[in-house]
């Protein structure tokens, strides 16, 4: 085989590598953007997040204490982080997302 033919075969092989696995190319892109992404592919972190969906942190003692304190203070106007109400921030009725049931009829039933 002439060296020219060899070179073009190499090129073809290289092209094939990227063409055959677009997934791997995407993976490289992701790793470049998030270098600290877990070594384990997807796996337990994702699963655990799925299992704890809906978990809100609510301590009725803290809540009542905060409500009592709030009576004397101006209510905070800044919207608190509505998704993760945990840690130091004591949720107040204003913070909690609306849990009203749908009394409105479905728009499909019009």
């Amino acid at each position: 085989m002439s060296s020219e033919e060899e070179a073009s075969i190499d090129e073809q092989q290289e092209m094939q590598d990227t063409v055959v696995s677009p997934e791997k190319a995407e993976e490289a892109k992701l790793k470049a953007r998030y270098p600290h992404l877990g070594v384990r592919p997807g796996g337990s972190d994702l699963l655990r997040k799925r299992l704890t969906k809906g978990q809100k942190y609510f301590d009725s003692g803290d809540y009542n204490m905060a409500k009592a304190k709030m009576k004397n203070k101006q209510l905070p106007t800044a919207a608190a982080e509505k998704t993760e109400i945990t840690g130091d921030h004591i949720p107040t009725p204003q913070d909690l997302p609306q849990r009203k049931q749908s009394l409105v009829a479905s728009k499909l039933a019009v």
Binding site: S21, P22, E23, K24, A25, E26, E27, K29, L30, K31, R33, L37, P41, G42, G43, S44, L46, L47, R48, R50, L51, K53, G54, Q55, K56, Y57, F58, S60, R99, K100, Q101, S102, V104, A105, S106, K107, L108, A109, V110
Partner: protein, 448 residues
Amino acid sequence: MAGAGGGGNDVQWCFSQVKGAIDDDVAEADIISTVEFNHSGELLATGDKGGRVVIFQQETENKSQPQCRSEYNVYSTFQSHEPEFDYLKSLEIEEKINKIRWLPQKNAAQFLLSTNDKTIKLWKISERDKRPEGYNLKEEDGRYRDATTITTLRVPVFRPMDLMVEASPRRVFANAHTYHINSISVNSDNETYLSADDLRINLWHQEITDRSFNIVDIKPANMEELTEVITAAEFHPHQCNTFVYSSSKGTIRLCDMRASALCDKHSKLFEEPEDPSNRSFFSEIISSISDVKFSHNGRYMMTRDYLSVKIWDLNMENRPVETYQVHEYLRSKLCSLYENDCIFDKFECCWNGNDSVVMTGSYNNFFRMLDRTQRRDVTLEASRESCKSRQVLKPRRVCAGGKRKKDEISVDSLDFNKKILHTAWHPQDNIIAVATTNNLYIFQEKVN
């Protein structure tokens, strides 16, 4: 050609109806979360994120005018589930209806099971078209009559009244699931049904609400060892002892309840071997099965993972008999689909009445019809633009790269917020219900 139920691609699909609001500002409660025909196809139920169920009824066809396609109109609507907060576990329980399953009809009333993340309810939908009149002691409006004014006796009679459809919760099956319910399936024995959450499957009797049997438990002793979860489960359509459940790792296990009380040990394990050289960060995520459905004849089952639909022969465990690509052009977009969480979208799939064609949804309000017998596939779109009655839907084409032809849409122009996750096919006829985010489209076969 009503009743044929075959041929996905010689069938020309026409727009029939669309339900729901036109405005682009979609309230979260209006997001459709499940669609299901009943066993006769006369009723079509939808559930939404707001916990509401709407049931449509097919108008009786005018036999003398076959061109007049029967329409689905609102039959009943009710609030099935309400939001709850479990204070003990600090858990917010969404009212979103995850699944609706109809019971086979046994008497004049209709029954369906609807479930959210934690609680399954049995609803009875019944018609009232007569009411008693002529009471002796009460007026027609319900007020009691003065007994001293009554001089004669009469026999109350039933008189016809305007049809009233009532929905009432007959059973509430609660407190049996620690994790979130993803599936319910009615058994062919007409007595029991199963409910599956991420780690467990329970067997219930339709009449008994205060207990259920656990038949599958894949929770590891140490949660650090958790590697897979249950994603869907279904009973076999004829064999009341057989059910399957799919996992986030792309496997399906078939279990036989005659083998033992606890079906942790499967009877069959369906898994396609993976080429290790192709493995990437995304492999496991995209292999997660989002839906599993038995064929009507009970010989096959279909699974939907992120990019494909696979048909499995129940007699062959080591690979599917057919594999169809739904939107292979997304494989080179997995990075952004991971970032915007679309890679976790759970698409459902369904069979037509004679198991010759399967359907599943995609993005940009596209849905795919995959004809098994003719080995052909078509992409159609559910949009307001194709809303002219009897207008035949035009096939859509996505251009993966390179030169875009006229009428093609490029991958980068696809709207990933417009996803069709839920579709349903009439059990006998070529009538399909396709749910976009907040609208329900009904398409029918073109009748000449």
